[in-house]
């Protein structure tokens, strides 16, 4: 579903992502772990076509992100770590705008909007201005907007930040449900317990390079993901 080969991205003299390769298959939840500034968000933004990268290839469902960006974006949903949304719109207007862009039929979008907003308990607030939303409500709205077009690949940057426990659980269930339907989920997190429980595969990034990746059980071995992560962090220093 998602294939990243030798991705490199530099900011000035700093190499944010260095020759990174990983594959996310259909039906997989892939966790992307690393310390602050390790290159997670840069990788994610490159995958979603938000950042231009220096070298390497990224393909989504067999389509090259550089050559066929619109096809790739049509199959992808992205949720950023800090959901700055259009605060001049109401929640429902924002969702309709996204649905218009993805050309979703009126009845279908209506069904999906209400299904996901009921699940995340945001329906009652959909008529409110986004500017009046809390961080968690904006995060929920961003998640609903990401699911409207039933993406094949979900790319989430710290998706649980700001969510209440109930919504957090609902998002985890949604991630698993989407994978069961054949989609793939690629997400970054600092919450290693969540990654350990939720992910089929994990990758640990440090200084822009992958230092470990593979099925969660293999990466973890007999210890916890937290122990492995901290050990790899200290090994590299």
């Amino acid at each position: 579903m998602l294939r990243i080969e030798n991705l490199t991205k530099t900011y000035g003299d700093k190499r944010a992502v260095d020759d990174l390769s990983l594959h996310v298959g259909p039906g997989e939840i892939y966790g992307f772990i690393g310390h602050n500034g390790a290159g997670k968000t840069t990788t994610i933004k490159s995958v979603c076509g938000i950042l231009q990268f220096d070298s390497g290839t990224i393909t989504i469902d067999g389509h090259d992100v550089r050559r066929e960006p619109l096809l790739c974006k049509a199959r992808t949903a992205y949720i950023p770590d800090n959901p700055d949304l259009y605060d001049f719109m109401t929640g429902i207007k924002y969702l309709n705008f996204i649905a218009d862009v993805f050309d979703i039929d009126a009845a279908l979008r209506n069904e999906r909007i209400h299904r996901y907003s009921d699940m995340l308990e945001l329906t009652a607030d959909l008529a409110g201005a986004i500017s009046s939303y809390s961080h968690g409500m904006k995060q929920k709205l961003a998640i609903i907007s990401a699911l409207i077009h039933e993406p094949r690949l979900l790319v989430l940057d710290e998706p649980f930040v700001g969510l209440d426990p109930k919504a957090s659980r609902a998002v985890k269930d949604l991630m698993r449900q989407k994978c069961d339907e054949g989609a793939a989920v690629f997400f970054s997190t600092h919450v290693l317990e969540v990654a350990e429980r939720l992910c089929d595969k994990v990758a640990i990034i440090k200084g822009g390079r992958l230092v470990a990746h593979g099925p969660t059980d293999e990466v973890r071995g007999d210890s916890s993901l937290e122990d492995v992560f901290l050990e790899l962090e200290s090994d590299q220093q």
């Binding site: 705008f97 862009v101 009126a106 008529a127």
Partner: protein, 534 residues
């Protein structure tokens, strides 16, 4: 702490002017400096001419104090009318207010730093007013060391008086707007237009009553001393070098300012954290209306535009003035046409259709929305970039939004003007079509300029639509094109063709230039948009 915040705020205000682009050979402030020099020079020249007359007249009637009192009154009026909305944006609408409140900084310090920034801006804006007036005064032989010292103190203290009133009005305005639940943008725009018309009225009244000032100086002096005691005190202090009056002026300037800032400081935290009139709107599910992608993208731009009164006021002031002008033409056709006839009659060969075509183009040139639309994406740029929409389509939507709110009202004004002023079909076509050719160029040019000089890290949209390099370049670039066409006509064109035919050539030139800019946007512009943030 106040100093640090002050420097931070001031840097935020001028950030886009001081930053050098990655591949730019010259820092942006070089270009911005040229534009600022042009504007300040124009204002300074007008003040120089006006006060050169006044100093002689007031000297003749023995009321020299009126010279400085009048300067203070003009400076105050223009300053207040021009700064109320800037003050409201900086003090109560800045996006970093809550972040600063979360830091261990006293709210009063945040307020003080912002007020100091406003005072700095106010002083900077009063330079082109003050310098020529002081120059005329000193040239007339009225300067002594004591008088000059008082003048310099007055240069800082007069903006303090202006700022006191601006702060009060900004506070009241913010409080009223915060309590209004619907049509906030409309209310703010209407209030601002009232201020704007007041601004124009003050400026034209000064020009119109120039003769009265000179011939009836004694009556004016009596009126000023009665109704404007701070300015009377300042005028007498400088003219007579009277320390007592100067102390009185200082008291007039400082006391209300300190009191107001003190009251605001004690309530600043409460004002910023109070509910902004938002209330929970009940959601009634219904099957949504489906729009096409272009309609959705244009709708998004227009939603943003209507929700931000500062954008409406600053980026489409030409549209607002066009509509007001069209309304005036319908209501007072004879008066407006009489005034236009007098103007046209003053220049040989100038006809009403030519005059109004140029006037509509000049007014429309102040519409700079397209020069702000890329910057207004700000921190939400990721949305447009992550959607399956081509960059050229996004830019096209921005262009269409600009044309809808800029060219649309100007077209309406053109049609009304053509109905009122054109005698034949040729005049009608000239008035309606030629300005639209020019507006197409300014719309595309604004977008190209904004892609070259984007500002995505703004804290208040005022920084984008009023203080950004792209907005400055767009407005003066547009006016510059009109003035350039005028100069070419005066030098060469008038020897070859009639003004009407020349204007059609100008329209054609605008269309050709617009096609070139459109091509540039389609290639380099799209590439620039895709590189934003990378």
């Amino acid at each position: 702490m106040i100093g640090t915040l002050y420097r931070l705020n001031l840097r935020a205000v001028f950030a886009s002017l001081l930053r050098r682009g990655r591949r730019a050979r010259w820092p942006r402030f070089v270009f911005a400096g040229l534009f600022v020099t042009y504007v300040a020079g124009s204002v300074a020249l007008a003040m120089l001419l006006l006060f050169s007359l006044l100093v002689v007249a007031f000297d003749a009637i023995g009321e020299l104090w009126l010279y400085w009192a009048l300067f203070a009154a003009i400076s105050f009026s223009l300053g207040v009318l021009g700064s109320v909305f800037v003050a409201a944006g900086h003090l109560f609408g800045a996006r970093d207010n809550e972040a600063l409140l979360a830091l261990p900084i006293r709210p009063g310090q945040i307020l003080a730093s912002r007020v100091l920034v406003l005072l700095t801006i106010e002083c900077a804006l009063s330079v082109p007013l003050f310098v020529p007036v002081a120059y005329v005064w000193l040239s007339a032989g009225h300067g002594t060391p004591v008088g000059v010292a008082m003048l310099l103190a007055g240069f800082v203290l007069l903006p303090v008086i202006t700022l006191s009133v601006s702060l009060l009005l900004a506070w009241v305005l913010s409080a009223v707007v915060a309590r209004v639940r619907r049509h906030r943008s409309l209310l703010t725009v209407v209030v601002a237009l009232v201020f704007l018309l007041g601004y124009v009225a003050v400026f034209t009244a000064v020009q119109r009553h120039l003769g009265d000032l000179i011939t009836s100086g004694a009556e004016v002096a009596a009126a000023v001393s009665r109704s404007m005691p701070p300015f009377h005190a300042f005028g007498v202090a400088v003219a007579d070098e009277d320390p007592g009056r100067f102390a009185l002026f200082v008291a007039w300037a400082v006391t209300p300012f300190v009191a107001l800032v003190g009251i605001l400081a004690s309530r600043y935290s409460r004002i910023l954290t109070a509910g902004r009139g938002t209330h929970r709107v009940a959601y009634h599910p219904r099957v949504p209306r489906r729009s096409g992608m272009t309609a959705a993208l244009v709708g998004r731009e227009l939603s943003q535009y209507w929700s931000r009164p500062m954008v409406v006021l600053n980026a489409t002031i030409g549209s607002l003035m066009s509509l007001i002008g069209a309304g005036a033409l319908v209501a007072r056709r004879d008066v407006v046409l009489g005034y236009s006839n007098r103007l046209a009659g003053a220049v040989p060969g100038l006809t009403i259709p030519v005059l109004v075509t140029v006037a509509i183009a000049l007014v429309g040139a102040t519409n700079t929305l397209s020069a702000s639309l890329v910057s207004l994406e700000g921190r939400t740029l990721w949305i447009a970039r992550s959607l399956p929409v081509s960059s050229s389509r996004i830019l096209r939507a921005k262009l269409l939004a600009h044309l809808a709110v800029s060219s649309g009202p100007c077209l309406l004004a053109s049609i009304v003007t053509a109905w009122a002023a054109a005698d034949d079909a040729a005049g009608w076509l000239l008035i309606v079509f030629v300005p639209q050719c020019f507006f197409l160029l300014t719309a595309l040019g604004g977008l190209a300029v904004n892609l070259s000089l984007p500002r995505l890290d703004w804290l208040s949209e005022v920084q984008v639509v009023k203080q950004s390099a792209s907005a400055l370049v767009a407005v003066f670039g547009g006016i510059g094109v009109v003035v350039g066409f005028g100069i070419v006509y005066l030098v060469v064109g008038r020897l070859l063709v009639t003004p009407e035919i020349y204007l059609w050539f100008c329209g054609l030139a605008c269309v050709l230039a617009a096609l070139a800019v459109a091509r540039h946007l389609h290639t380099r512009g799209v590439a620039r948009f895709e590189r934003l943030g990378s």
